[in-house]
Amino acid sequence: MPETITGAEALLKSLVEEGVDLVFGYPGGQILPVYDKLYDYRSSIRHILVRHEQGAIHAAQGFARVTNRPGVVIVTSGPGAANLITGLSDAQMDSTPLVVISGQVGANFLGSDAFQETDVVGITQPITKWALQVRRAVDIPAAVARAFYIASSGRPGPVVLDIARDAQVGEIEWTAYKKLNFIRSYNPRPTVAPADIVKAAGIINAASRPLILAGHGVTISGAETQLAALAEKAGIPVASSLLGLSAMPSGHPMFKGMLGMHGNIGPNYLTNSADVIIAIGLRFDDRITGDTARYAPQAKIIHIDIDSSEFNRNVRVHSAIHGDARDVLMQLIPLIEPASHEGWAAEFDRLNSIEDEKVITPELSHGGPLTMGEVVDCVSRSAADGAILVTDVGQNQMMSARYFRFACPRSIVTSGGLGTMGFGLPASIGAKMGAPDRTVCFFSGDGGFQMTIEELGTIMQYGTPVKMIILNNNFLGNVRQWQELFYGSRFSQTPMVNPDFCMIARAYGIKAEAVADRSGLASAVERMLAHDGPYLLDVSVASEGMVFPMIPAGRCVTDIMLSRTEMFDPGQSHD
């Protein structure tokens, strides 16, 4: 005989059925029935009590990005749900699977402006993959199954279940839980058209200057091995987007660096020399293309993506292959003729060596105050292989993406598309909980750190051993950089008066130390990494530090600034 349970319990049972053992949340009035039942389920579902709902969702994002499983968030109605908006939008932009459960007022109060009522489905529909209000207990298991299926399949994304109080307290006869694997209006794993594969193989086999652009889709589909196989077989240099970092180890000989506004010179500049571009799970974001009218004008572009709405969205492509990156590459590789393009690949190294000389070496052997680059470099060298980089947004993000070295997949957690300051601290908590055996190094600026600084309380409560490094320049550094370069050094509202971050950390029981100069850096980093627990380093860096190279917004990918005064000149190719 089926057992009769409440909707709240059906929700928790459904979560367990979906393999959930960790959720991030914050209780409140309209989700109380769920929290009450959670007390009985505390041995199977671990709940992390954050200090602000925004912290819960960014933590869930960090968890999802390192585990490839949906992050789960539970919040109350009204303000609880509204505080998730930034994270939902961020997860939607960066294809991060989330299942968000919000309480809602009772069904007969809906639309009455009841206490803590807000139109959650209405406000989240534009920034989620799917959102649904559940009003009856009997609908909960099917809604949860649908939510997990949608969030984690195809191009992943955030899903919202807005559960009215009636559904939580109502009763349901629990029968066997059924996972979902089919929705007729949604095909997350399209069959790859053989004709598309053949056409693309022909283009690649005829290429003399091919270039692979690896995006987040490589990581999401788990196509890292296939990416390397294609690059090695056909001798194709690989560049990655910010979110595509770590899909190929930084030290792989075919890996030529990061694309984008602050990417490496080789891949950015040579985008416009390539005759064939193979973009894998990458959406040609404007931070990568610069001026699209002058982007890769002579290249045939092959675009592999699971989301067909990305084809021809930002740039025109010659060959679109709709499918999962791994499926596509596995079918493509056998048709690819072995090749090597040594002269072409060497051109990347030549241009990157100019970057080494003009940008990287000066950044790493600066005589004056500490630079952001050398701090990241020092941490990256000292951290164990397999360390995960979590960043906030701004100069700290670009510098750590540029100077951190990646050994294995799923090693970067950063807010790419939305560029959410305050993302990093909670995301580092979720990343560490998702990958407890890996070192998590979180780099932040002094600005972003204060946007979600309250999550130090979460770190304290759970003893989450994240390594936090503040690259402290007492400025909103990225905006400062733009003001200096493009707004006549009028530093409007960017200087910051900061608290003593170490004292704050210690108030939360977190070990902390300040690093003021070069001589103290390496040993402080060693102590941080050796410490068995959370640790904060507040590192004073040059306040006028700039991230170079830089392709100014809207300019061509070959218009690269090396410094405040010098533009990049490619010199003579040895080809």
């Binding site: 489905v121 209405g122 529909q125 534009p126 993959k129 799917w130 959102a131 209000q133 949608i150 694997n181 089919f182 929705i183 007729r184 209006s185 949604y186 095909n187 989301d307 067909s308 709405s309 084809f311 021809n312 969205r313």
Partner: protein
């Protein structure tokens, strides 16, 4: 250069669920596209709903809009048409003063000429109905204006395609096969376990 602007008709087939219209309209909102008219109805297939939307835009933008609409989970298919591809109609209702209308000596020929019909007559007002293309309902509107037009309303466009193919049916058959294949694969895996 401003791309060539023309009137497009979209037909969107979806599951019949709460908030579907919002899911579609936010895609227009994001791109600041003004919807000219919209109609929603059931289709010949039980459980499947249909929106018909007209909008002035350019081909490139609309191709992207259609793909973004199809990306919504509850949307089955969306199709983009220009007027050449479809047979379309709309319906207009006109409420006029009966007294003024009766003074018109050519009333009967006016109604006949426009292919309109009388839906209701009271001593106070008369309601006329006309189905047709926008310029036709517009023409009757102009003629009736001297008679003290009290209310005028025009429905959104409804249309059917001129093509003999029924792409929605083909899509549904494909999905049914996809479903069967999934079920078969699942039962094979279970048997092997």
């Amino acid at each position: 250069m401003i791309p060539h602007q023309q009137l497009f008709t979209l037909t969107i087939y979806s599951e019949h669920c709460v908030g579907l219209l919002n899911q579609v309209s936010i895609i227009f909102t994001r791109r600041c596209l003004n919807i000219e008219d919209v109609s929603a109805s059931r289709t010949s297939i039980k459980g499947i709903h249909r929106l018909t939307i007209t909008v002035w835009s350019d081909r490139d933008t609309m191709d992207k809009v259609v793909k973004q609409i199809e990306k919504r989970i509850d949307v089955l298919r969306a199709f983009l048409y220009t007027d050449d591809d479809i047979i379309y109609q709309e319906i207009a209702l006109y409420k006029v003063d009966t007294a003024k209308l009766m003074k018109e000596q050519y009333l009967e020929s006016l109604i006949r000429h426009h292919g309109a019909r009388i839906l209701d007559i009271t001593p106070d007002f008369t309601v006329l109905e006309k189905a047709g293309q926008p310029w036709e309902t517009e023409a009757l509107l102009e003629e009736l204006e001297p008679f003290g037009l009290r209310q005028f309303v025009r429905s959104g466009r409804v249309c059917v395609t001129k093509s003999s193919q029924e792409p929605l049916n083909i899509y549904l058959q494909e999905q049914e096969l996809r479903h069967q294949a999934l079920e078969m694969r699942q039962s094979t895996t279970e048997n092997n376990d």
